[in-house]
């Protein structure tokens, strides 16, 4: 029944399609230039940064800046307090992000439904993304955070943190839904055709073929929005709740010193860089699972 095995081996030494370099794109051109190129790059970088640092440190305003922004004693007082309060920010953005990822998916899927019977849902989804991308985030937080408790309705939660999370979820779901939509539309229609041709329903095609590919494609912009959300978690301070940024402001005003801002900045840098590297790693690892470019 089966033919001789040799018939099914590739005739040429046809190599598998390339999976892409794992190395950093920044260094790639340097490698291409060769050793001389690397030497020039390193030396010019060193010279440039030395010049910049010397220029800043020797400016006449530097001692004032140093006292106001880089005061060691204030830093030591501020840092632990800020880190402690930052725990609330973490709680807010982790919970909100979970809700956002789910809700945005729902909106994106609603928007991509075909057929006249789904028209109201599509309009609703489109209207939602229009509205909540138009409204400034702080406005939504203020309306919900001050307005909702003011209604004094029983059963309506009065927790400011609750309403901040709700507001952030509503706003960011609109942005992330558009990111998902871009991802979904970037999946080549031939993928959908192949899945439907097998007899898979629209829903299953979306679930097994489109969405897994779509999400993988938009991991970097998803992280972008998540990072934005992490910063916006500070907006709960507008409602009166003390979180990381507010704590740094309180210490700032007590001491008339900006060092707490630097401490807060350090916290944000420390948490953000690993996330960026993690997504880079995910993207590199998944490169093989992205479409290898053959269209219809």
């Amino acid at each position: 029944m089966s033919g001789p095995p040799e018939l099914y081996q590739s005739q040429s030494g046809d190599p598998p399609l390339p999976t892409g370099e794992r190395g950093s794109r920044i260094l790639a051109p340097l490698r291409a230039e060769g050793a001389r190129g690397v030497a020039i790059a390193v030396v010019s970088a060193m010279v440039f940064f030395t010049v910049v640092i010397v220029a800043v440190l020797s400016s006449s305003g530097w001692p004032e800046i140093r006292r106001a922004f880089f005061d060691g004693e204030v830093f030591r007082e501020a840092f632990p307090k800020i880190v402690d309060r930052f725990g609330l920010n973490v709680f807010i953005f982790v919970v909100a992000e979970g809700l956002v990822l789910a809700m945005a998916m729902l909106i994106a899927v609603l928007r991509s439904l075909h057929g006249p019977v789904f028209f109201p849902l599509r309009i609703l989804a489109a209207g939602y993304t229009d509205l909540f991308r138009a409204l400034p985030t702080i406005l939504v937080i203020a309306l919900l955070g001050f307005g909702a408790p003011a209604l004094r309705l029983s059963g309506v939660p009065t927790s400011k943190v609750f309403w901040a999370i709700v507001a952030l979820t509503l706003v960011y779901s609109a942005y992330v839904a558009e990111v998902y939509r871009a991802g979904i539309e970037s999946v080549h229609p031939s993928q959908v055709a192949s899945a439907r041709a097998l007899g898979l329903s629209r829903r299953k095609t979306l679930r097994f073929v489109v969405l897994p590919q779509a999400i993988r494609r938009v991991l970097p912009p998803l992280l972008n929005d998540f990072i934005g959300l992490q910063k916006d978690s500070a907006l709960v301070a507008f409602l009166g709740v003390t979180e990381g940024l507010r704590e740094s402001q309180i210490i700032q005003f007590e001491n008339f010193d900006f060092t707490p801002y630097v401490a807060l900045a350090l916290v944000y840098v420390v948490i953000t860089i690993p996330q960026a590297r993690f997504v880079d790693w995910l993207v590199a690892r998944d490169r093989r699972r992205r479409q290898t470019g053959v269209g219809v």
Binding site: M1, G3, S12, P15, P16, L198, G199, V209, R288
Partner: protein, 253 residues
């Protein structure tokens, strides 16, 4: 039920299809018997792909009807997914799912569309992959495979649905010449096994070997059809002659 469609695997009656103002199919009539292998030849744009996509209901027809094993699939209210499960189609551009391994590509249809248990689907998949020399690739992702291997997997993926009819749309046109043979051999095997097939192809030599009947598509209709020996050596129509001549001139026959 029209007596003509009884016992036929696939019947197309006066099928018309337009894309906007462009009329692609202008009245296709075709009847394919059980276990028959029909090859479609014709210039690009003659409507071969469109015809196959209409049979699979990937494109809705504008007029005419299509009947598969006695069931009119172009009728209103038909369950499109169920029909497509009975008809396998393989495209020129393989279109494997890049985020899934080969075995998962093959078992997705059976498990999700047919509701087959995973273990059963995998057993079926492994058997088919083994039959066509791809057993050692089961865990690989499509990007690791050559073009010929990917296309063979695409055929296996369609076969895993255990269709009644297989439609092959220029499945070797995107392949490097040295990889074409392995795919053609798979198709030969299927034909030998009795699969009813409609194959659009440029490979004339292959068509001559494998086809029970060759149809020449031109300007949206089947201009001429018949056994391969007759079509290739004594075409009746002038345009058929010119088409075959151009193929010979291009050194492809």
């Amino acid at each position: 039920m029209n007596a003509q469609v009884n016992g036929r695997a696939l019947v197309l009656e006066d099928v018309h299809k337009s894309f906007g103002k462009l009329q692609v199919l202008k009245g296709i009539d075709l009847s394919v018997a059980e276990h028959e292998v029909v090859c479609l030849i014709g210039a690009s744009g003659s409507g071969k792909s469109t015809m196959l996509r209409c049979i699979n209901l990937l494109e809705p027809v504008d007029a005419g009807r299509i009947v598969v094993h006695g069931e009119e699939i172009t009728a209103r209210g038909v369950d499109v997914n169920r029909i497509r499960q009975r008809i396998g189609i393989v495209f020129q551009a393989f279109n494997l799912f890049p985020h899934m391994s080969v075995i998962r590509n093959v078992t997705l249809g059976p498990t999700e569309a047919l509701g087959m248990p995973r273990s059963e689907a995998e057993a079926l998949g492994d058997e088919l992959l083994g039959r066509f020399g791809l057993a050692d690739k089961r865990g690989d992702y499509p990007d690791r495979l050559s073009g010929g291997q990917q296309q063979r997997v695409a055929i296996v993926r369609a076969l895993a649905m255990q269709p009644d009819v297989m439609l092959l749309d220029e499945v070797t046109s995107a392949l490097d010449p040295e990889l074409v043979a392995e795919v053609l051999n798979v198709i030969r095997e299927l034909a030998a096994g009795g699969m009813t097939m409609v194959i659009a192809t440029h490979e004339m030599g292959f068509a001559r070997d494998i086809a029970k009947r060759v149809c020449f598509l031109d300007a949206g209709v089947i201009l001429e059809q018949g056994p391969p020996e007759r079509i290739f050596t004594e075409p009746q129509e002038d345009r058929t002659r010119r088409f075959l001549q151009s193929i010979i001139d291009a050194g492809r026959m």
